[in-house]
Amino acid sequence: MLTLLDQLDQGTLWRSPGGIHPPQEKSLSNTTAIARLALAQQYLVPVPQVGESCTLSVKVGDRVLKGTPLTQGTSLQHLPVHAPTSGTVIAIEPRPSNHASALPVNTCVIAADGQDSWCPLQPSDPAELSQQQILDKVRSAGIAGLGGAAFPSHIKLNPVSEIELVIINGVECEPYITSDDRLMREHSDDILAGIAIIHKLVQPQRIVIAIEDNKPEAAEAMTQAIGRSQLPVGSTRVTVIPTKYPSGGEKQLIQIITGKEVPAGAIPAQLGVLVHNVGTAYAIQAAVLQGQPLVERVVTVTGQSIGRPGNYWVPIGTPVTHLLEASGSTAFAGQKIIVGGPMMGHALPQTQVPVLKGTNCILAPGAAELATEVEEKACIRCGECAQACPAQLLPQQLFWHAKAEEYDKAAGFNLKDCIECGCCSYVCPSDIPLVEYYRVAKSALRQAAEDKLQAERAKQRFEARLQRLEEEKLAREAKAKEAAERRKASMSPKDKDAVAAAMARIQAKKAATETAAVSPDAQATEAAGGNKSAAVAAAVARAKAKKAQQAQTDSPAAVRTEVQTEVQTEVQPAAADDKQAKIAAAVARAKAKKAQQAQADSPAAVQTEVQAEVQTRVQTEVQPAAADDKQAKIAAAVARAKAKKAQQAQADNPAAVQIEAPTEVQTRVQTEVQPAAADDKQARIAAAVARAKAKKAQQAQTDNPAAMRTEVQNEVQTEVQPAAADDKQARIAAAVAKAKAKKAASAAKQDKE
């Protein structure tokens, strides 16, 4: 019985399930050497590219050299992004991304200076470096998997488990792509130097370079290079595998080379296998030996619409438009440009997007290559797709559930193991774009998982908040109790007498209330400064009036009650801190409001003609003489708020049958804000609050479903007369207020119609 290593040495191959043989178009681009194109005017470098959290290390206007790092990050996943050429950062702004959606992502735009001069590089000898130093070099060079997935290489090169076998992937199974083919032919020694570094890092027992049999030149070049390399004899070999799509997939390749299947949800390292692309091996070599960061890669530019198809060294961040122009594209505007191969790639919604680390091919198909839009027909359950599926899934079942949007059922058929290779779509006789369905289903499942996570977090936060509120409440109660006990303990006999006197007064007041029938006209006009007792007496009187009024309006048989509440609150604060007067006025207004509410809340009997002419004339003439007349302003705001609430209460009154309520609400909010001082911030805020309230009141009114014959005469005359020079805000506020008034008026008109 041969061991796995023996079988590897013999080049034993296993069969991978499924797969297809699409027509090969590699000869279109693999006959010419890898060339360089002229520099583009601008380079679009998305930041960040791999890894989420990072900080920008350049700003707009900075001059950068080729290889200057543009980002810094601390997370393990993060890879720095480097300037692809020398020039100036002219913008850092959202630009369309190289993605099927072309959604804008943050992009660093670099205007090339044409000199393409490198920043100082630090070449080194891997023999003198420790493992960690090599890994740091690989990471700071920003090397990601160049096969297409762009996974950070330094993570793969630092495996937690022991690696027996490293597979260098030179399969390149996509029908059009030849970038790895040309790289192996021209730079086989450099690739081997990269493989030697990988060998030093992971110490595998064997390294297998897998190449498809449609690239005999590349296989030959690599075999010769192995002979020239420093690698231990017998540790490395080239294995030629039969051409079949998708043999280049990581899991498929492992199955072909070792016969082992990577379990669902597992990574190859768990089998002791590591797969790296040949391009990645080349980049690792450049990073460690020459100190060059990953700023360019080989891109196959091909298709029948390209005048000079071939492979090019393309700086990362080159706009696809430039690539097409420089390679003599004859693609017409609006033609499909495909990034990646025809099997797994995606069409670009627009071409002003950058080449990224994972972009291995730009395909501009000609008219003969572009299929006419075929109609999707019904699935006939032929089972061709199940035969072709390399992951041994049941594509027609997945399709069935994905189309019905039963995504959890599709997940039950192992949708997440689909590698989106497109074999099923290719063989489908009904032209069903199966992979597109799977992509939609996968993104929906991802979204659902994300939503669930968010819901869980929201629940935790909600519960934490409830607990906190409960604790705060308990703490407050304990504190109040403690304070009460302290008060009781320190109370003298004299204080106790005072409490008894207060109790007696309250009793007397209650007795008086029962007999009182006072008109509700409460005009609070206290102007005195420190006459405290008089003010208290007045307050008591008002309280009595209020209670009496309530008793009246609460009586159920209050037919034809003509209550004409004319609250004419004229607040004219003459002195700066005439506090008592203002408080008294505020109390009076509060009472007026309560009276109105009580009226509105009374259960409307049949044929009640409530002629409530509420003429709320809030003539708040705020004339702040002094700069910080804060109290006056607050009082005005409170008054307006009350007026609003009263109106709302009226409007909410459930209109009974045959009630003729000609409510003439004349809301004349004449907010004449005359800010004398320059930055009279409070005054402006007060004005804003007033406007917001006026708006809400209007809304409440217009929402009233039974508001027949309501003549709403909203005259919001916001006369803001900015005296000072820089009160821009005041003017803007005035404009907004006018706009709101206009809207409210039109809404009212509509309502009437």
Binding site: P23, Q24, T372, P433, A444, R446, A455, V689
Partner: protein, 186 residues
């Protein structure tokens, strides 16, 4: 006769003790169905169902309330609830306009720092202090709408979440490439 009666009495006694012991030992705290319902609900804590939060609504459903009172969850949640509770799905009692995920946004230069929205937020997703500007942690906002009403200066907007590369939904945009000649050997 006596043996039969005594035997049955004995058996009844033994099983009675056994059941009594099991009822004490394996007592289930609370209603487990409430937890299951609660995990299905979207946890926006918006109160649109008429209950103060998602858990109270879950308890209400367990006690026989209707399953169609959750507009943020939409039809999908309603269907899952119908399946769990074994009742017929019924149309949502609210319009479907709240289906788009939204988050609150405070126009910061208009905020007067009144802290009213902070008190209204059920998931503590608004930060700020008295007389200082407030802002919303969009990653934690559930889009429940509860902060909009208390704002005295109307400076809170509910804006739909913009799609990014992570949450963008693949549309059906196939890449049609014809086969040139099928017989070509590979």
């Amino acid at each position: 006769m006596f043996i039969a009666v005594s035997l049955l009495t004995l058996l009844a006694l033994v099983f009675g003790i056994l059941l009594g012991f099991a009822a004490q030992k394996f007592k289930v705290e609370g209603n487990p169905i409430v937890d299951q319902i609660d995990t299905l609900l979207p946890q926006t804590q918006c109160g649109q169902c008429g209950y103060p939060g998602c858990r109270p609504y879950a308890e209400a459903i367990a006690n026989g309330d209707k399953i169609n009172k959750c507009p943020p969850g939409g039809t999908a949640t309603m269907e899952k609830l119908a399946e769990l509770m074994g009742v017929d799905p019924e149309p949502l009692n609210a319009s479907a306009e709240t289906q788009v995920k939204k988050v609150a946004y405070i126009r910061e230069d208009e905020c007067i720092g009144c802290t009213k929205c902070i008190q209204a937020c059920p998931v503590d997703a608004i930060i700020g202090a008295g007389k200082l500007m407030h802002t919303v942690l969009t990653s934690d906002c559930t889009g429940c709408d509860l902060c909009v009403e208390p704002c005295p200066v109307d400076c809170i907007d509910m804006i739909p979440v913009t799609p990014n590369l992570k949450n963008w939904n693949w549309q059906l945009n196939a890449i049609p490439v014809t086969l040139l000649d099928e017989e070509k050997p590979c």
